[in-house]
């Protein structure tokens, strides 16, 4: 391994600009003659707009224009599209109500966009928006997931009877019932996967620009996937052809899923920039982000596990109610179904599984993918259920897991819920986790904790996730309205330096470093000679973007393919110049050598020859060294792992402290261990946030009570410890780099380990269940309730 190649702990190239204040985030970009947009939003969760008077706003100082829902309706632009279609049990398509850019008739959640004011300054736009008079006829609202399907619940959309978006199923119901008929034990659980708010530190920003001389539009936006935004906005909303529309996602300050989706503000500023012939910038403030960025999770699940007399799992049946919010966000319908229910086998051999999911509309912010997206819900359900099963059957929780693991020799393993795992060694990862966590030393630490008057618990989770989204054929069969491949272009310059154009997007992941490591390693060129370009549809050929831990597994594979093409072409050039047969050219360490001779050309010499070709055979060899590749994955990749958490609980106050956290993950080949560890740290803390701190609270009228950082508990430095992070890599993943994905493992593996630890700590007090977030109040109440029984 070289000091900068695959596997090396290379310091990040992007850090210099970020550390010196020279990052280029969307709000740092300004265009000549720029105006500013402010969006007036609904203060009500559910109401009819009976009148709207914008005349005072129109006349307000500095105002350039005011647009309302009626203007949008008259302009005949489209609503925001949904990218995934789910079908009901009876084969009919899901309910898909319209999602307008500005609402004209009925608002459906607090924060729904009602009007856009454009003015010379931000403050003028905001001042003018306060002068818009909107009269609302308020309606009863429904916000809780389980309340949406009750008789008489307020109806969010006329198109969705009983607030139901879809009622879907997966698996063999009859085989599952047979499993239950043979069961020695049936273990039941009800879990709530709490709604969380993604809160990337950079709020969303959209800057629309229109070139009056060419008629070209440019949108600068905080996106994880600028090409997807161009496709969705251009083709479905504004009907702008792609060659007239450029979308740029420059430095982006975190995404965690929330910046995948196409949002109304992007289309509004682009559309209005064309109308006004001036650039328009919209910047979300944090309060706005809380009520407009798509939220995550919000599933309520009942599950039952059938187990035989030897502790082997026989069957699993799962019923989930999933909250979609007020409208369907871009990927929303896929989260509880194809990204969640398909993982219900976990790492276990459960032979029969049946799952049903009912998705509902409520008067809340739309819900979509947040780091993990469906998979944290499944890992949480399974691992809570397995711990409960251990208690009910009297089998030790490590032993019960071991008895049910899929064994490495069973690979590839076809699960009963559609997926086929390609490689994995769950017993080995589990043992590595127990060893790294010094699991056998727990009792000693517990005694020490108890000597201080506190309780200590240990919780285990094993998980699997499907990453590298997604094989296009599979995705299409499952309802995706797009293929989910990735592209890469490797442009070798005449002097041997390289620009990589990638359709993946980096918003914290460090692609400018890891992707350069891959290219440098494959082509044998110095790391410093590779620059990574991403995030601009005018530069990069196409891209499906970054989410679902797909960048290296899919985007990296495209890079690998493009580099292969470069080597093939360079081999032809070297063979021609060295007057040898192509088959005799060996490429190693950046040199093309005629086998068995000392005749050799360095990579840079071949590059120069490619662009200064004096005698290439016209028929068979083109000048230039610039190759494009699109890679469509053969299968998902399947990271797995074992997370072990120890907590200390103060029984008097209910305060939970994460005392020790160990994550051992199989993420396949590691390109940069430093970046991998950072991804796990960040993911685990988002999991700690969901498990202990973060909860989204709506009141009965649909007001978001946790609508600021003063009310919504983000994890802070003093809420978390240092972590023990290690990899137990199993090679052979179905992509050329044999990588699996690491962005989400922390958020998927950690919540069940934490809550299992809390429940374990409270067992002596008779507590059997604790809900997320396990705040001091929740834990204290659980203790009081148990003591009262």
């Amino acid at each position: 391994m070289s000091e900068t190649g695959i596997g090396a702990r290379v310091k990040r190239v992007e850090d210099q600009r970020f550390l010196t204040g020279k990052g280029n985030y969307t709000d740092d970009i300004n265009r000549p003659n720029q105006t500013y947009a402010f969006i007036l939003r609904s203060p009500h969760a559910h109401a009819r707009i009976t009148s709207l008077d914008a005349s005072a706003a129109q006349a307000s100082e500095g105002v350039v224009a005011v647009f309302t829902g009626k203007d949008i309706a008259a302009a005949e632009v489209g609503g925001l599209p949904c990218g995934w279609q789910i079908h009901n049990k009876d084969g009919s398509p899901m309910a898909e109500p319209p999602h307008p850019m500005l609402v004209a008739d009925k608002v459906r959640h607090v924060g729904d966009q009602v009007a856009m004011v454009i003015a010379e300054t931000r403050d003028q736009a905001r001042d003018a928006a306060e002068k818009i008079v909107v009269e609302y006829e308020t309606l009863a609202a429904v916000t809780a997931t389980d309340a949406a399907i009750k008789d008489g619940a307020p109806q969010v959309h006329d198109e969705a009877a009983l607030n139901t978006c879809y009622d879907w199923e997966l698996g063999d119901k009859a085989a599952t019932e047979e499993g239950f008929a043979k069961a020695a034990h049936v273990v039941k659980i009800d879990v709530v996967n709490n709604r969380i708010i993604p809160n990337a530190m950079e709020p969303r920003v959209a800057l629309g620009d229109y070139d009056r001389s060419t008629g070209d539009y440019t949108l600068f936006t905080t996106s994880q996937n600028p090409h997807v935004i161009r496709l969705l906005m251009g083709a479905f909303v504004l009907q702008l052809p792609e060659h007239k529309l450029r979308v740029v996602a420059p430095d982006v300050g975190g995404g965690f899923g929330s910046k995948i989706f196409h949002y109304a503000e992007e289309a509004l500023v682009t559309w209005a920039a064309g109308k006004l012939g001036r650039p328009i910038k919209w910047v979300s403030d944090r309060s706005e982000a809380f009520v407009t960025d798509a939220h995550g999770r919000d599933h309520r699940t009942h599950a039952e596990l059938a187990i035989d007399g030897d502790g082997k799992f026989l069957a699993l049946r799962v019923s989930t109610l999933a909250n979609m919010g007020a409208y369907l966000s871009t990927f929303a319908p896929a989260i509880p179904t194809y990204l969640s229910a398909t993982l219900l086998a976990g790492v276990y051999t459960t032979p029969a599984i049946y799952s049903e999911v009912r998705a509902v509309f409520t008067n809340t912010v739309p819900v979509d993918a947040v780091r993990g997206a469906g998979r944290p819900e499944t890992s949480y359900l399974l691992e809570r259920l397995v711990d409960r099963a251990a208690k009910q059957t009297g089998i030790d929780k490590t032993e019960l897991r071991k008895r049910n693991f899929i064994q490495p020799e069973q690979m590839p393993y076809q699960t009963p819920v559609a997926l086929q795992y390609d490689v994995g060694d769950y017993p080995a990862v589990f043992e590595a986790g127990l060893a790294a966590a010094d699991y056998s030393g727990f009792e000693g630490r517990k005694a020490e904790t108890e000597s201080r008057g506190k309780l200590r618990g240990v919780g285990i989770s094993t998980y699997i996730e499907a990453c590298g989204i997604a094989p296009s054929a599979v995705a299409g069969a499952l309802g995706a309205r797009a293929g989910l491949y990735e592209s890469a272009q490797v442009r070798v310059h005449p002097t041997g330096s390289v620009t990589l154009f990638t359709g993946s997007h980096s918003h914290g992941q460090g692609h400018e470093t890891t992707f350069a490591q891959v290219v440098s390693d494959l082509l044998g060129v110095p790391f410093e000679a590779v620059v990574v370009s991403h995030g601009d549809t005018a530069k990069v050929q196409f891209g499906m973007g970054t989410y679902g831990s797909r960048s290296l597994a899919v985007g990296g594979a495209a890079i690998y393919k493009a580099c292969e093409k470069i080597i093939d072409k360079a081999t032809k050039i070297a063979a021609h110049i060295l007057e040898a047969a192509e088959a005799d050219i060996e490429f190693k360490d950046g040199n093309f050598t005629v086998a068995g001779t000392d005749k050799s050309m360095a990579f840079g010499e071949v590059a120069l020859a490619a662009y200064v070709p004096h005698n290439f055979p016209h028929e068979t060899l083109e000048p230039g060294l610039d190759e494009n590749a699109f890679y469509d994955p053969l299968n998902f990749s399947y990271p797995s792992g074992c997370h072990i958490c120890e907590v200390e609980v103060d029984p008097d106050t209910g305060v939970v402290e994460v005392a020790k956290f160990t994550a051992v993950d199989d993420i396949g080949r590691v390109v940069n261990p430093m970046i991998v560890e950072g991804q796990v740290h960040g993911g685990v803390v988002q999991g700690i946030g969901q498990a202990l701190l973060e909860g989204c609270v709506y009141d009965d009228e649909g007001q978001l009570l946790t609508g600021s950082f003063m009310d919504y508990a983000m994890p802070r430095a003093d809420n978390v410890p240092f972590f023990t992070v290690a990899q137990k890599s199993v090679m052979g993943a179905s992509n050329p780099l044999e990588v699996k994905g690491v962005g989400e493992v922390g958020a998927i593996g950690s919540p069940p380990a934490i809550i299992n630890a809390v429940v374990n700590a409270l067992e002596p007090l008779g507590v059997e269940d604790v809900t997320m977030p396990a705040t001091p109040m929740t834990v204290w109440q659980a203790i009081q309730d148990a003591q009262a029984r």
Binding site: T20, M201, R286, A717, F722
Partner: protein, 155 residues
């Protein structure tokens, strides 16, 4: 409109601003010092931390007019023509940043901690960062960075 004058990163600057202009707006919009970021509207996240007369301040919570006559240092004022300050270097060496958005505030805040506590313990650092939120790193490498930066500054 009142005139405000101050020294920013060693340079004297002066401008007429609306009275309601926040210091962070003045830095970003009038001086194009966009390294200082706005991550919230309730003085919680700390992405906007700068130094005013040597003390770390959330520049979203101070009017530009209140900084009249002050010495202000932003993230752009730390490096020496691209050579990183030891605290910046420590963040790079310890992977103390991912998306980079909270980073300027973290670095500016860390420097104020180290000024008063040259050898902070892990708990000192965690407690000090109460007013700085990061969503990417899980704080693990930020805490390590600040301790390493402090060590480098002690020499």
């Amino acid at each position: 409109m009142p005139t405000v004058s101050m020294t920013v990163n060693g340079k004297s600057v002066s401008a007429d601003v609306e009275p309601r202009t926040l210091l962070v707006q003045y830095l970003r919009e009038h001086l194009s010092l966009t390294g200082t970021h706005v991550g919230c509207d309730t003085s919680q996240c700390g992405a906007c931390v700068v130094h005013v007369d040597g003390v770390s301040v959330k520049s979203c919570t101070m009017l530009a007019a209140q900084a009249d006559g002050a010495e202000v240092v932003t993230i752009e004022g730390l490096d020496d023509n691209g050579t990183l300050h030891p605290m910046q270097e420590a963040f790079r060496d310890n992977h103390g940043l991912q998306c980079g958005f909270c980073t300027p505030g973290m670095v500016m805040s860390a420097l104020d901690l180290v000024k008063n506590n040259p050898s902070p313990s892990e708990q000192d650092v965690r407690d000090w960062l109460e007013g700085n939120i990061c969503r990417c790193t899980g704080y693990h490498n930020i805490v390590k960075s600040i301790q390493a930066g402090a060590a480098a500054m002690r020499g």
